[in-house]
């Protein structure tokens, strides 16, 4: 019974409003990820849930308790910070036990709870070290351990992995997923990393300028975005958008040699601009005469990315899996399956369905 529910939540800093009436409900045990471009309000929203920022308007419930005006320490939440925010003067053990100690738990209990958490996180060998004697990943684990120990109803993470290097990030990501599987608490997680969002989330919340753009399961957002923003934001490399015009119930795409893309979606009226969205892996290229040029090809081992420049100067990225080499600078023909394309209104940017 420890879901989180936001109702018309608003945040203003002085005159500037940064969260514009957000409604969201997160179920008990759910792993919810906030994504969105920098400055869109992810951290702010998370910190409002934690009680670190005052809520200007609206209501926040945690487990059916109205916590809108409660102190951070009384909300039963734990937070893991981007910078870990470990207390540098305490050992790992003291760090993890600090919250319990402050709330007057007996020593034995603290010890056993810290022990349990350190076992889960494999921190047993480091309990008496100070944070600065730990590696980044270990610190991150301590920060998580500190959150676990207090047995909170809700875990909040603010870009917890962004200070780790690529390899560790992968490990810790899997670790967090495993932790969620194990303790099953409600978790809210802020990130700007595509992969983290896609792999960890039960539910992704896409934010943009203080408003929710779309909420849904990762693969639902990936396959079925509501608008161009979400489509472009989810997936890496980003979806390619090619400008087209409605003509005779289909879409004509001038940049691809006036190819006519047929579709069953409800297109707007004749002449209306439409964006055709195709993911890089759904594009295919063959050498051929055209005004599309292969600018640079990057080999990554298993796959390659081809950076194309279209006649109108716009760019396309194509993901290819074959090892067939097309020389850089060649002109190309680009193709895709019509069923792989998504269509967006060129003006409202909403998805055409």
């Amino acid at each position: 019974m420890t879901g989180v529910k936001l109702q018309k939540v608003v945040k203003k800093y002085g005159e500037t409003q940064v969260i514009h009436g957000v409604d969201l409900s997160i179920d008990d045990g759910e792993f919810c990820v906030f994504v969105g471009p920098s400055g869109c309000g992810k951290s702010t929203l998370l910190r409002m849930i934690a009680g670190l920022e005052e809520t200007t308007d609206g209501q926040i419930e945690i487990g059916h308790r109205d916590v809108t005006h409660l102190d951070a320490s009384d909300r039963g939440v734990a937070m893991v910070f981007q910078t870990y925010a470990l207390y540098p003067h305490m050992t790992v053990e003291e760090n993890m036990g600090f919250g319990l100690r402050m709330n007057g738990h007996p020593k034995d209990e603290i010890k056993s709870k810290v022990g349990e958490a350190s076992r889960i996180l494999k921190l047993d060998d480091y309990l008496s070290r100070k944070p600065k004697a730990l590696s980044g990943g270990q610190r991150q684990r301590v920060a998580i351990g500190r959150a676990i120990v207090r047995g909170p109803e809700v875990f909040l993470f603010d870009e917890p992995l962004s200070n780790l290097d690529a390899e560790l990030r992968v490990d810790m990501r899997v670790e967090i997923a495993r932790l969620h599987n194990k303790i099953g608490a409600t978790m809210i997680y802020v990130t700007h990393d595509q992969v983290e969002a896609m792999t960890l989330a039960d539910k992704i919340v896409v934010l943009r300028a203080g408003r929710i753009e779309q909420v849904g399961k990762p693969m639902d957002l990936y396959r079925d975005p509501d608008n161009k923003f979400v489509a472009g934001f989810i997936g890496s490399p980003s979806m390619n958008f090619i400008e087209g015009v409605v003509e005779g119930g289909a879409v004509r795409v001038p940049a691809l040699g006036n190819r006519i893309v047929k579709t069953t979606v409800n297109l707007p009226g004749e002449g209306h601009p439409v964006s055709v969205g195709v993911r890089p892996q759904h594009l295919s290229i063959t050498e051929g005469q055209s005004d599309i040029k292969l600018d640079i090809r990057e080999h990554l081992g298993g796959i390659s990315y081809d950076y194309l420049v279209l006649g109108d100067g716009s760019k396309l990225i194509v993901e290819t899996r074959d090892d067939r080499e097309i020389p850089e600078g060649s002109t190309l023909l680009v193709g895709f399956e019509e069923t792989d394309a998504l269509f967006f209104d060129g003006v409202s940017e909403n998805r055409l369905r």
């Binding site: 009680g51 951070a72 937070m79 910070f81 470990l86 207390y87 919250g99 402050m102």
Partner: protein, 310 residues
């Protein structure tokens, strides 16, 4: 590509001159020379000379006479020296009150309201003012006939106090005057220290349920360690160097009860009835040895910091 390039490689092999090869040593030496000369000349050699002088009897006019350890032996039985030494310890201990006091004021002022910058600066004021002026101001404050202190005591129906005239109180009175600018100094150190406190840690602690004193004690103060360290060092140094205030406020009196080593040695060496240079130097050496403990501590902790660095 086999022979010719190698030959040319050898031909081009460049033997840099002495300057070029040792540039990384010679450049810093050139940059350091004036500073080091000045410093040796005016600071390091004089310290050594003082040590040397402490084995002589010299009135500053005629020839110095070697007396071995006599000056030091005399110190052992010199009551004024003993009083000075004790007073120095009083200074050392009580002066440290500036640290918590400064912290308290810093916490009080660590807010963002309109005009707070102005307030912070004004609170810092006492430190900028010469100790001579501070001494005067406090002398008037303590004045037994019209001083503000006694005016206030009178209001409460208390006996008037002659703080600077009472051998048991005078030293404390001067220390209090010294605490005023020193507290301001510690305050500003702590204010800058508070700026550097990691706000995320405070938030983490808030989530952990730490409030009020416990927040202060467990989270804030440990993070202010660098500021505390510096405040400690400057306060100790200030305490041991105290001279101006004593000179202005009591001139060591009444009957020598407010002397500290630095003042006593000035008295012995350069004041009206003094000019016992050797004896003064011996006092200075004692003072130096006390300070040495702190200098060593400071250097040691700096060394710990430096070891890790580049």
């Amino acid at each position: 590509m086999s022979n010719a390039p190698q030959a040319s490689a050898r031909a081009k092999t460049f033997r840099p001159g002495f300057m070029a090869r040792n540039r990384q040593v010679i450049t810093p030496l050139l940059f350091l020379t004036p500073g080091i000369l000045f410093f040796l000349f005016y600071v390091i050699f004089p310290v050594i000379q003082s040590f040397n002088l402490s084995f002589y009897k010299w009135d500053g006019l005629g020839e110095a006479e070697y007396v071995g350890l006599k000056n030091y032996k005399k110190l052992l039985t010199d009551r004024a020296f003993e009083v000075s030494l004790w007073n120095n310890f009083k200074w050392l201990i009580l002066y440290l009150l500036a640290i918590p006091a400064g912290l308290f004021i810093a916490l009080f002022l660590n807010q963002t309201v309109t005009g707070i910058r102005m307030y912070k600066s004004l609170f810092f004021f006492p430190f900028v003012i010469s100790q001579v002026v501070v001494g005067l101001v406090f002398t008037w404050f303590y004045d037994p006939t019209f001083g503000l202190l006694n005016t206030i005591l009178e209001q409460f129906g208390l006996e008037p106090l002659n703080v600077l005239g009472d051998p048991n109180l005078a030293t404390y009175g001067i220390i209090l005057a010294g605490l005023w600018p020193q507290t301001a100094y510690c305050m500003i150190l702590y204010l800058t220290g508070l700026n550097a406190v990691d706000p995320e840690q405070i938030e983490a602690a808030r989530l952990d349920g730490a409030k009020g004193w416990r927040m202060l004690w467990h989270i804030i103060i440990p993070q202010l360690r660098p500021a505390t360290f510096i405040a400690f060092v400057v306060t100790i140094i200030g305490a041991l160097r105290s001279f101006d205030l004593i000179s202005i406020m009591t001139y060591g009196g009444p009957f020598g009860s407010t002397r500290v080593l630095s003042f006593y040695m000035f008295e012995k060496a350069l004041s009206e009835y003094g000019f016992r240079m050797g004896y003064g130097a011996a006092i200075a050496v004692v003072l130096f040895v006390i300070m040495l403990a702190f200098i060593a501590y400071f250097l040691w902790s700096m060394y710990q910091d430096e070891k890790g660095a580049r």
